[in-house]
Amino acid sequence: MQKKTNVWNNVDWITISIYLAMMFIGWINIYAAVYNEEHKSIFDMTQQYGKQLMWIGAAIFIAVLMINTDSKFFVTFAFPIYIAIIFLLMLVPFIGTTINGAKSWIQFGGFLLQPSEFMKMGTSLALARYISSYNFKMHSWKSLLALAGILFVPVGLIFLQNDTGSAIVFGVFLLVLYREGLNGIVLFFSFLIALVFVLTMVLEPLPTILILTFAAFLINYLIRKKTKRNLIGMATFTSIFGILWLINYLAEGGVDPLYFVFAAAFISSLVFFLWAIMLHKRSLAILIGIYLGSVLFSVSVDYVFHNIMEQHQRDRINELLGIQSDLHGAGYHVNQSKIAIGSGGFFGKGFLQGTQTKFDFVPEQSTDFIFCTVGEEWGFLGSTLVIGLFMALLMRLIFLAERNRSKFSRVYGYCVATILFFHFAVNIGMTIGLAPVIGIPLPFFSYGGSSLWSFTLLLFVFVRLDASRFEQLSY
């Protein structure tokens, strides 16, 4: 009994308060988003808002259960839990239920659970357990291979279940690995590759190359402050493009201007690369190398996408980036979402006064686009508060992770923080037009029991681990 009181004395009430506040705000916004006049009561169990209250109740129960669990349990059973969820994931194709085209749900009694949601916690535990083991060395082949194994088994399984959005989330563990010593260059290139890929897919290669070109000149200017040479570079690029375009125009060749932009980028890069080598300007050579690599990557992504991939593979990517599922043409949903949020103004339209979400201009109002309702009805004030809450939670989690002497707890804490961060960044980024439309929920806000419970589980395992930070753990 004494142990139990100790636990409740040591839990981090700041984290718990933010958690409860988020669920509450989420709940009233779900109410506003799907508000139905025939069911005015927020407690009406036939409606999403009534059900969400039930899910919240169950989530709090899960949280209490986690806090009352012995923290050693999570360390000892990290791998078994990870393996058990992998098994569940493998069972999904056989006993799963299909919802919205993804066969990624399992029905337990009256509840639908998505094992991929719980996989995030399982993988976090396994990563924490492995990284905190004595024989782990970040840059040894063996360790990298093991890490890759821990990550790619669940990612592969989830990917096979057509739930690409959830699979992408695991990419964020790179941040955890970075914190634990992974070379920063890996992080930088991963980010660059993802960025160029998304830009190419969403914007087409031509604007992508132009953006990359502009970025390269900007970075070069910021590093080296040589305005004159930058202008010469731009002039070279533009004139090569211009000459080619003019020839094509006069000859009525009808060639896609993409080729001219690409040629301009390629030729001018080569010229300046040779020049940089000759003058031993190493940083310029690296910059041009990265630039040229990105351009080539963008063009080849586009080529592979259009000429090598099968239609169903293309559909998958389009769906992931919200291009295909957006039946009304690219950007329509995002535009509606931006209109909803933008029309909120400083103070918002007020509780239940939003028109954009209610008239079904915004899709998935209660799940993926719940932030629209916040933005429309509570304005800049409310949306900033929500972002502030997330920032507070993330900072608090990093603080808690860092104060833990146990490496297991720290790595797990970082996993929790980065997963929540990724969901936050992609979900809200999507509603305000800063991220592709990847359908993943906003933690603790979006409607749905499965995601709420999995995030609760994820968070409260860490709250429990943190509560026992004074105990001497063997890891």
Partner: protein, 611 residues
Amino acid sequence: MDTFSKRKVIVAGIMLGVGILFVLRLFTLQITNKTYKQFATRNVLREITIYPARGYIYDRNNELMVYNKAAYDLMLIPREVKAFDTTELCNIIQLDRKDLREAIAKAKQYSRYKPSIVAGQISSDIYAPLQEKLYKYPGFFVQSRTLREYPSKSAAQALGFVGEVNQRTIETDKYYKSGDYIGVSGLEKAYEKELRGIKGVQKSMVDVHNRIKGKYNDGLEDTTAILGQNLITGFDAKLQAYAELLMTNKKGAVVAIEPATGEIILMVSAPSYDPNLLVGRQRSKNYSILMQDSVYKPTWNRAIIGEYSPGSTFKLVNALIALQEHSVTPYDRFSCSGQGSTPIRCTHSHASPVAMREGIRESCNPYFWNVFRSIINHSPTAEEGYRVWRDHVVNFGFAQRVGTELSSERKGNLAETSYYDKYFGQKRWNAMTIRSLSIGQGEILVTPLQMANMAAIIANRGYYITPHLVRAIQDPNRVSHELEFEKKVIDIRPEHFNTVIEGMQAVIEDTKLQHTVKLDSVIVCGKTGTVQNPHGADHSAFVAFAPRDTPKIAIAVYIENAGFGATYAAPIAGLLIEKYLNDSIAPRRKDLEQRLIETDLLNVVEVKRKL
């Protein structure tokens, strides 16, 4: 502390960076950029249902029986309403302020966001000034739709009417939304799917001033309405109207069928009503008046739901069955003692004994008692004999729905052997016990439609085509698709019909009907019936067809409480046959026509009842 501890700053920095980026983005979206606010107000979606024109209904001569006229519903979205001049709006739409207030309150109660009808079925002359002033009333808009118009004001029950769809239909058929119209009865109901067409939807963006700002999403979600299909019926609209005129102030039904095709030429149920009453803003008021009329029940289609004893008209069937079963020959004679006959007395006085032709002519009850007894006794037991008889009767389309498109059609009734077993006890009944059937009384009920069909069978000498109202369906491109109907052959040999038809000709030519029904140019065959009515004066029935050798029309007339069939039912049939075949009434028969139109049997009944 580990060596990479400093990286926490980078990780936290990335997170904070994204957070700050989001806040900046929100700042531009929500505060500095005003265009989104304008977008949002402009973004108010207005969904207008495009109701396709309902299909027309034509008669056999391509004359329009039902078409459409334009009408408009004033709609309201409560949430968008701003303060407005109620008096002015009420003046424009000619509505009480109280009614308007109630309608708005009701709309609010239904939904603040979804449109409700405030004033339905506004006519074109009100619509024009309303449309001009509509900008003054944010939240209001007009939705156009079509209303039915019945130029000949006839065939109300057969054509049926349209009304607002009820809640149960909305729940079971997702095509329908609250406020939609649906065929409620008659052909409007039977051919609802063909007539209604397919609704379209037009989504528009409107601004706060109620002005349409363009198509929503470039009209990608709009659907065009598909026009309803037209029905081409077998009705003769002129004859239908004439029949209704003749049935003025009478209670009963008239059905006429073209024997060769089974097309129903007319279907009258009297008393009737003007179908135009059930259209427009007065609809609900008129509807409840019609439904509450429990004396005349004007919405009842007696032609198909009226179940009556066929009376003496049924003797034709008994004669045919006996001939087919060889239980009597056309020449077998039976004696008649007039009023003193047993077990059934004769209602006429005539020479005795009589054979079939005279039996039919004189409608001799004792003769048909003998005919019926011969059929029943032709089998070893009464039960078997009854079964044989009953099978024949059923073969004539009795005791079953003959199969028109109208869903309210009734079966009539004809007792099974089990009924008599239960009533009298097994083997404790015989021809004598059920003798009423010999003269079309007793445990037999038929509809006027079935009687007309019987006349068609005799006219065809032994078959009928399923009677039907609609001959063809015309698609919106005005291409007609002929419908096909089943031909049913009666198990009685054609020569037997000739004997009966001779009798029927004699009915018209050798009795006093020669003054009222016989035509100069055409041989008419018919049979009267006077049906005992325990509740009042006898019903008057008559079946006929003409011309005898190339029948064009078979008809049944049934008039409640009108006494002898010969008095009213037969001359009405005669006039209808004459009008149909000759297109006019001979001058010498104009008096008869006038007298029949003026005959008021309804108020006679009233008087009788009072006495």
